[in-house]
C-alpha cells in the first residue's frame, strides 16, 4: 500500500548512525503504542549541542528510515532546537510519508524528547530556560 520516497528507501537500506555510544549523556528506549515499534536512542551532548546520536530500532521500514534521518538531523543541533524537532519535520526531510505511515515518524521525535529529558534529569543545570518544566 505505501508509496515510499527514494529517501525513505535510502535510509531504510543504508541506515546511518546505528549502534550505541560508549558514555551517552541522554538515553531513551520507547515503544510506539500504535504499532509496537521500539526505538533506543543515545545522544552525546557537548556544550549545548548534540554532538553524536546513535540508535537501534525494531520496526517497519519507515520507523527505521525516520530513526536514521532523525539521527542525522539532531547531530549538531542546539538543545533548544532539538527540543522542537517535530515528527512533521522528520517526515518532510524524508520527502514525505504516506498518510497511513505518519504515525511511525512520531517514534524518533518522541525518543529524542525522551533522551533530552533523561539528560536534563541528570544535569538539571543544563536545561535551557525556554524549555517548559
Amino acid at each position: 500500500m505505501p508509496q515510499y520516497t527514494e529517501k525513505v528507501i535510502d535510509h531504510f537500506m543504508h541506515p546511518r548512525n546505528v549502534g550505541e555510544i560508549e558514555n551517552p549523556d541522554g538515553v531513551s528506549t520507547i515503544t510506539n503504542p500504535a504499532c509496537g515499534d521500539t526505538m533506543m536512542l543515545q545522544v552525546k551532548i557537548t556544550g549545548n549541542v548534540i554532538s553524536e546520536a546513535k540508535w537501534r530500532t525494531l520496526g517497519c521500514s519507515v520507523a527505521i528510515a525516520t530513526s536514521s534521518i532523525a539521527s542525522e538531523m539532531m547531530t549538531g543541533m542546539k538543545l533548544e532546537e532539538a527540543e522542537k524537532l517535530s515528527n512533521k519535520a522528520i517526515a518532510d526531510a524524508l520527502g514525505g510519508l504516506p498518510r497511513v505511515k505518519m504515525h511511525c515518524s512520531v517514534l524518533a521525535a518522541d525518543a529524542l524528547k525522551d533522551a533530552l529529558k533523561d539528560f536534563y534529569t541528570k544535569h538539571p543545570d543544563k536545561k535551557p530556560y525556554t524549555v517548559a518544566k
Binding site: 537500506m13 537501534r56 525494531l58 520496526g59 504515525h103
Partner: protein, 393 residues
C-alpha cells in the same frame, strides 16, 4: 535480482490472468457483447457462452450447472453465502458458527449480520490452525442455522478437514431435527485441492477467479439445490434470481476457462509448487535461526510458506525483499494507524511481538527452483541485517 527480474511469490494475493484465459474472454468484449437475456439472434451466442461456462464450472465442482452462481468475486460469494443463508433461515434460528481464522470477508459479514440480530461463535483452532470437527458439533445449538469453515487458510495455508466437519454438522442437524447450512470459503483451495462438493459435503462454496489465473472481479458461489437462500443482489432475474445484474460475460467465461485449466493441470501444478515449497521451508529452517513455521507441517496448501521471524518486523522484511526483487506478503500489516496483528496468527497462539515478524511466500506455476534458491540466498542476510538494527537481541 541482479538482472532486474522480479520474482512474484504472492500468489495468494492475486495471480496474473493467463493468456489462454484472456483468449477465451476476448470474443465477449466487443463481438459477442450482447446481453444474454435479450431475444435476438446475436444474444443467443452470449447465452450459449454463459450456459457453457456454467457447465464448465459445474464439471469441476461435480455439481449441477444450475447450482453454479456467478458473482463478482470471493468477497461477494462469501457475503452472499452467509447473508443469503442466514436471512433465509432467520425464523429458524440466529446462530452462526465460524472458525476464528476465517478471511475478513466471512468474519466481517458476521458482524454485519449481528446488526440484524444474529450471533456468531468463533471456533478456536489448534496451534496449526486446525478446526476440530468435534468442536464444531459441540458448538452447534438449537439456534444454529449456518456453519462456515474455510477450506484452506489464506495466511498460513492450513487445510481444514471440511468433509469431516460437514459430516459432524449433518449428524448434529439430524439429531436436532433442523437444517443447518454448511458453507466453505474455498478461495485459496482452488487449483490445489479437490473441489468436489459432494465429497466435501458442503451446501455452499465460494471461489474467486483471480486466485487461479482467472479474471479479477469474478467468482463463483455454489449453492446446492434446495438450500434456503435469500438473494443479496436484487434486480433482474439473472442467475435464476440468485444474483441480479447484467452478466459479466468476459468474467464468467474467463472464470470457467481458468477453473477448467486449473483443474486440468492441478496434479502437475501441485507437484511443482509443493517441491518448491518444501525446498523453501527446509532452506529457511536451515539457514535462519529463531524462526517458526506457521501452519501445519503437512496439512497445508502446497504453495504456502509462512514463517515468523523473531526480532524483525514483517513490513521491513517485505520492503527489503522488494528492493531485492522479491514480491512477498506479511501476516501483520503496519499500514493502518493502529497496527492490528494478524487475527490468524493470534488465533494459533502466537504472541503479538512474534506475530509481527511473519513473512508469507505463496508460490505459483511460473516460479522455479532458481527463484527459490535466489530467495534463500538473500533472505538470511535481510533478516540478519534487520536483527542487527534491533535494540534487543
Amino acid at each position: 535480482m541482479a538482472d532486474g527480474k522480479v520474482i512474484y511469490m504472492d500468489h495468494a494475493a492475486t495471480t496474473a490472468l493467463h493468456p489462454e484465459v484472456l483468449e477465451a474472454m476476448t470474443p465477449y468484449f466487443s463481438q459477442l457483447y450482447h446481453n444474454p437475456s435479450s431475444i435476438y439472434g446475436p444474444a443467443q451466442l452470449a447465452r450459449k457462452g454463459l450456459d457453457e461456462a456454467r457447465e464448465g464450472v459445474a464439471s469441476v465442482l461435480s455439481s449441477r450447472p444450475a447450482e453454479v452462481v456467478f458473482t463478482s468475486g470471493g468477497t461477494e460469494s462469501d457475503n452472499s453465502a452467509l447473508k443469503g443463508a442466514a436471512m433465509a433461515l432467520k425464523q429458524m434460528g440466529n446462530h452462526i458458527l465460524i472458525s476464528s481464522i476465517e478471511h475478513h470477508a466471512v468474519l466481517h459479514t458476521c458482524h454485519w449480520l449481528e446488526k440484524l440480530g444474529f450471533e456468531t461463535t468463533l471456533l478456536s483452532v489448534d496451534k496449526y490452525g486446525l478446526v476440530n470437527p468435534d468442536d464444531v458439533a459441540k458448538a452447534i445449538t438449537d439456534k444454529t442455522v449456518l456453519v462456515s469453515v474455510m477450506y484452506a487458510n489464506n495466511e498460513i495455508g492450513t487445510v481444514e478437514p471440511i468433509s469431516d466437519i460437514s459430516k459432524a454438522v449433518r449428524a448434529r442437524a439430524k439429531v436436532l431435527n433442523r437444517s443447518i447450512i454448511m458453507h466453505t470459503d474455498a478461495v485459496q483451495a482452488a487449483g490445489y485441492l479437490d473441489l468436489n462438493v459432494d465429497k466435501l459435503g458442503v451446501d455452499m462454496l465460494s471461489l474467486s477467479s483471480h486466485k487461479f489465473y482467472g479474471p479479477k472481479g469474478a467468482g463463483v458461489l455454489y449453492i446446492r439445490r434446495g438450500t434456503p437462500f435469500t438473494a443479496q443482489e436484487m434486480g433482474g432475474t439473472q442467475e435464476r434470481n440468485r444474483r441480479a445484474g447484467t452478466e459479466n460475460m468476459p468474467g464468467i467465461v474467463g472464470t470457467a476457462a481458468a477453473l477448467k485449466r486449473a483443474e486440468r493441470s492441478r496434479e502437475a501444478n501441485v507437484k511443482h509448487v509443493q517441491a518448491l515449497r518444501d525446498q523453501m521451508i527446509a532452506g529457511i529452517e536451515d539457514t535462519i535461526s529463531r524462526v517458526r513455521l506457521n501452519g501445519h507441517p503437512t496439512k497445508r496448501l502446497p504453495n504456502n510458506v509462512n514463517f515468523s521471524f523473531e526480532m524483525v518486523e514483517g513490513e521491513s522484511t517485505l520492503v527489503n525483499m522488494d528492493m531485492l526483487g522479491v514480491c512477498a506478503s506479511s501476516g501483520s500489516a503496519c499500514t493502518t494507524a493502529s497496527a492490528e496483528p494478524s487475527h490468524v496468527l493470534i488465533a494459533i497462539g502466537q504472541a503479538m511481538d512474534i506475530a509481527r515478524g511473519a513473512l508469507r511466500l505463496t508460490l505459483g506455476e511460473e516460479n522455479t527452483k532458481e527463484d527459490v534458491a535466489y530467495v534463500l540466498s538473500v533472505l538470511p542476510g535481510v533478516i540478519e541485517r534487520l536483527r542487527a538494527m534491533a535494540p534487543v537481541k
